[in-house]
């Protein structure tokens, strides 16, 4: 009887491990490395930022998560309704590294997350102001499954508890049909535009203790009806 019980428990554990392996190595989970905006004829505004919390202006969360708030004395989001939310304020640079604006990003873990479908989802919005251009709001659903699979899990497996390499991937997975985010212009030359946006991450180093150590974000916003050389496209 005891032998059968041990076999059953062992079987259960093997079954759970098999399921975890099947999910982790699932060849059907989509790898989204090519931006849908890379084939557009329209001009695309590219805004870069450091995805390392300590490099930004302000980063805050519940204060108990992996990434520490920055600066250390910033108000933390510990209340139950916002405990799974992080807020970041950062400067944004253009492709030449010149200051392009300031952006606020609110990110909340999404209830649509489905591990079985390879979806580790985050609902996020950007509130951006670009001097001389105007303001824009970007709403997107982000999928961090590939990021977790390629960076976070290998870092935890590593004896040094970190990951080094080069990984680039689009994290935007919706809500628009092509897996792009929705951007709405609010003022200046962007006033009234409704367009698409895609956010990508380029990671080079990650630590289990601190989170991202060397990581850049790039937010691409398509400007409909503007080709390179148009006044609106001039940087």
């Amino acid at each position: 009887m005891i032998k059968h019980l041990v076999a059953l428990i062992l079987g259960l554990l093997i079954g759970l491990l098999l399921l975890a392996a099947a999910l982790y190595y699932n060849p059907f989970s989509v790898e989204n490395r090519l931006s849908p905006l890379s084939v557009t004829d329209n001009f695309v505004i590219k805004l870069n930022y450091s995805a390392v919390a300590a490099d930004g202006l302000v980063y805050t969360n519940d204060g108990e998560s992996q990434v520490d708030p920055h600066p250390a004395k910033v108000l933390q989001l510990w209340e139950p309704t916002i405990r799974q939310t992080s807020t970041m304020a950062t400067t944004l640079t253009d492709s030449r590294g010149q200051l392009a604006g300031v952006g606020i990003k609110f990110s909340s873990r999404s209830e649509e997350t489905s591990i079985l479908d390879g979806q580790a989802l985050v609902d996020s919005v950007w509130h951006i102001y670009m001097p001389g251009r105007g303001s824009v709001f970007v709403a997107q659903t982000e999928n961090y499954w590939e990021y977790i699979r390629e960076i976070v899990v290998p870092a935890r497996w590593s004896s040094a508890n970190n990951w080094r390499g080069t990984w680039r991937g689009n994290i935007t997975s919706g809500p628009l049909a092509l897996g792009t985010g929705r951007a709405v212009g609010g003022s200046g030359e962007l006033d009234g535009i409704e367009t698409e946006a895609v956010e990508a991450l380029t990671a080079k180093a990650y630590s289990v203790e601190q989170g991202p150590v060397a990581m850049q974000g790039e937010l691409s916003i398509e400007i409909p009806g503007a080709a390179v050389g148009d006044p609106v496209a001039a940087e």
């Binding site: 032998k3 059968h4 076999a7 059953l8 428990i9 062992l10 079987g11 259960l12 554990l13 093997i14 079954g15 759970l16 098999l18 399921l19 202006l57 302000v58 805050t60 600066p71 250390a72 004395k73 910033v74 108000l75 989001l77 209340e79 139950p80 309704t81 916002i82 405990r83 799974q84 939310t85 807020t87 304020a89 400067t91 200051l99 300031v102 606020i104 609110f106 909340s108 873990r109 209830e111 997350t113 489905s114 591990i115 079985l116 609902d123 919005v125 509130h127 102001y129 001097p131 001389g132 105007g134 303001s135 709001f137 709403a139 809500p175 929705r182 709405v184 609010g186 003022s187 200046g188």
Partner: protein
């Protein structure tokens, strides 16, 4: 015993799969929404920000006392007319329900915008008119919304309400934000329109 092991494996895969399918990986805590239905359609909701305790950040050039302490706001000339603030957002019961950003830009402060982010419900993006109207209100138009606020249109008003309680622990005042939103009109199918017209005729 081998049969028991195999049964255990199958049971393990099935139980794990069922657990992942039925148990939510993320469960956002919700406060009860305090919505008032307007008599002429749509609904209203009042949020507020207690000042100074709910202020997370003031990003503006030449701040004598940066908030948060240690904030290194860029001194670039392009950002001279910009003021960015981050807040915790509360409902009428004074419970925190979200976070919000307010941006004011332009030499004459002609761009004022809010983004309200309620994790369990969605986000609102609002452009305000720069001039306050009678009663100290500033009015703004909902430009975009997500999830619960998708396909909605309406207004948001902001006003400063100074604290009159005199209590030692009371905030200096609050920024009151009142939304008035309504779902965008949907196309009514033709057959339904005809039925309505016939009913009205009869």
């Amino acid at each position: 015993m081998i049969k028991t092991l195999i049964a255990g494996i199958i049971l393990g895969v099935a139980a794990g799969g069922a657990g992942l399918y039925y148990l939510p990986a993320v469960d956002q805590y919700r406060e009860r929404s305090m919505i008032t239905v307007n008599p002429n359609g749509g609904n209203s909701e009042v949020f507020h920000v207690n000042i100074p305790m709910d202020r997370i950040m003031i990003g503006a050039p030449s701040q004598a006392a940066p908030l948060p302490v240690g904030l290194d706001w860029p001194g670039d000339a392009e950002l001279q007319g910009l003021r960015v603030e981050l807040f915790k957002l509360r409902n009428q019961k004074d419970a925190v329900v979200g976070v919000a950003s307010r941006m004011a830009a332009g030499e004459t402060g002609n761009i004022i915008e809010w983004v309200l982010h309620l994790p369990a419900r969605g986000s609102l993006y609002v452009s305000m008119r720069p001039d306050a109207v009678e009663g100290g209100f500033r009015l703004g138009q909902l430009r975009a919304g997500t999830r619960d606020f998708d396909d909605m249109h309406g207004q948001l008003s902001e006003r400063w309400v100074a604290d009159s309680s005199g209590s030692e622990d009371a905030p200096a005042g609050r920024i009151e934000l009142r939304t008035r939103i309504v779902a965008l009109e949907e196309d009514i199918p033709e057959d339904v329109s005809q039925q309505v017209a016939e009913a009205e005729d009869s």
